[in-house]
Amino acid sequence: MWSAMRSRPVAVIAAYTLLEGMRNRLAWLVLGIIVAVFGLSEFIAEVAITETVEFQSAFLGATLRGFSVFMVSLFVITSMVRELNDKGLDLVLSLPIPRASYFLGKLLGFSFLSAATALLCSLLLLLYVPPEQVLIWGISLACELLIVTAFSLLCLFTFSHVTLALSVVMAFYVLARTISALQLIGGGPLIEGTSLSQQVINAFMASLAFVLPELHNFTVSEWLVYHTGQWGALLAIIGQSAIYVLLLCGAALFDLYRKSL
């Protein structure tokens, strides 16, 4: 293991992170939730008088997305906190491997778990939605989970505390999903836009939007319900994900390199 660690540290750390996910019975949890959500969606189908499949698709898509985001961020944060408490991080960083390799290995391992979660969620949707739309939705969910994973890692390196890190991740997620709606409300006809306070708030929202990912364009339930997903939309999502994950990597590495053992 140690020789492999020296030659291919990123791959080894990623593999062990994946192994941890499997030993923590993460897959069983995902499968259990998927079965429960499937049962609930069938129940909803029983009570809906019309548009049964649309109801099921919308319910499944929204529930699975929310569950995936929460589960992935919780797993990343608790796993990393355990490593901090067990001095696993100290041990790895005392080895002659760059800190960047440790971070990238962790990110890669967690990203595989996120992608597997997105895959499992998408497989269930195949029951109700055409494969092409499920594929677009699934890739978008994987991108969304990748951003959440990288942000969870950054929060953990910054705060080193489960409650704080998870709260910040959830707040980030909700804000990134709602920022465009908040901007529109701020500029809408109901709000008096000429007052100084409103102008300051609008300017603050606009500047906040510059540093948040456009998550409102990701994993849209409309694709599942009305089959309107386009590959072109996916290109923008992948582009945004690549840029934002790079930004989060930069910030997390900056934090990690400043940590003193």
């Binding site: 529109l184 109901l190 790079l246 400043r258």
Partner: protein, 260 residues
Amino acid sequence: MGWHLECVARAIGRAGRTAETQGMAERSIRDVPRPVIGLLLVALGAQIGWHGLRPGPQAGAQALPEPPSIEALRVAALGDPWVTAKVLMLWLQAFDNQPGISIPFRDLDYARVEGWLARILELDPRAQYPLLAASRVYGAVSVEEKQRRMLDFVYRQFRLDPDRRWRWMAYAAIAAKHRLRDLPLALEYARAITEHATGPEVPNWARHMSVVVLEDMGELEAATILIYQLLDSGVVTDPHEVRFLTLKLEELRAGMEAAR
């Protein structure tokens, strides 16, 4: 005892100070490799550039969706239909103000508005809000067809619980008389109050509305007959109300004599 407690408290405090709560000491920014700082700055620039180049959020009016079945709403309410009814009512009322755009009420699909109001009343039958919204908000638009639809909705809902919903029926009768200038419709609504809203909380003026409308229509004989029916039915027991009706009866008789 106090000393023991202090020792226990200190021990708990020490046990709680793990790496999680302690955090790690930080090194100087100069210890961060330059490629990492470069990556951070380039990625931040790329994110700002990406956001700047992408089109801003566009306000688009969304059509009011079809209301779901009452069964689906009851499931979604998680055993608390009253709160769900209140939240839905506020959502429906605010639907004309969507992010960045305002839709006039008259442009809403009234069949769907009616459907949502009916669902809300099914969730919370004692609620008055949906009937107020139907008669005074959605029924106040400048499209006569939509006004009539809302007043008809109020009428149908009134028939389900007259003693609790009479005031919206009374408002509908006034709206039919003054806004729509449709006296037969106003009479139909006023008669509905007289015939069905017989509870002790229904005030006299509401029960006597049909007399006033009949008088306005010139149907003095019908108004007289209605007063006789009211007095004979035993529903009217208040002496002031009996006196008012008796005076009205005399006034109508005088009017009929004058007309002959």
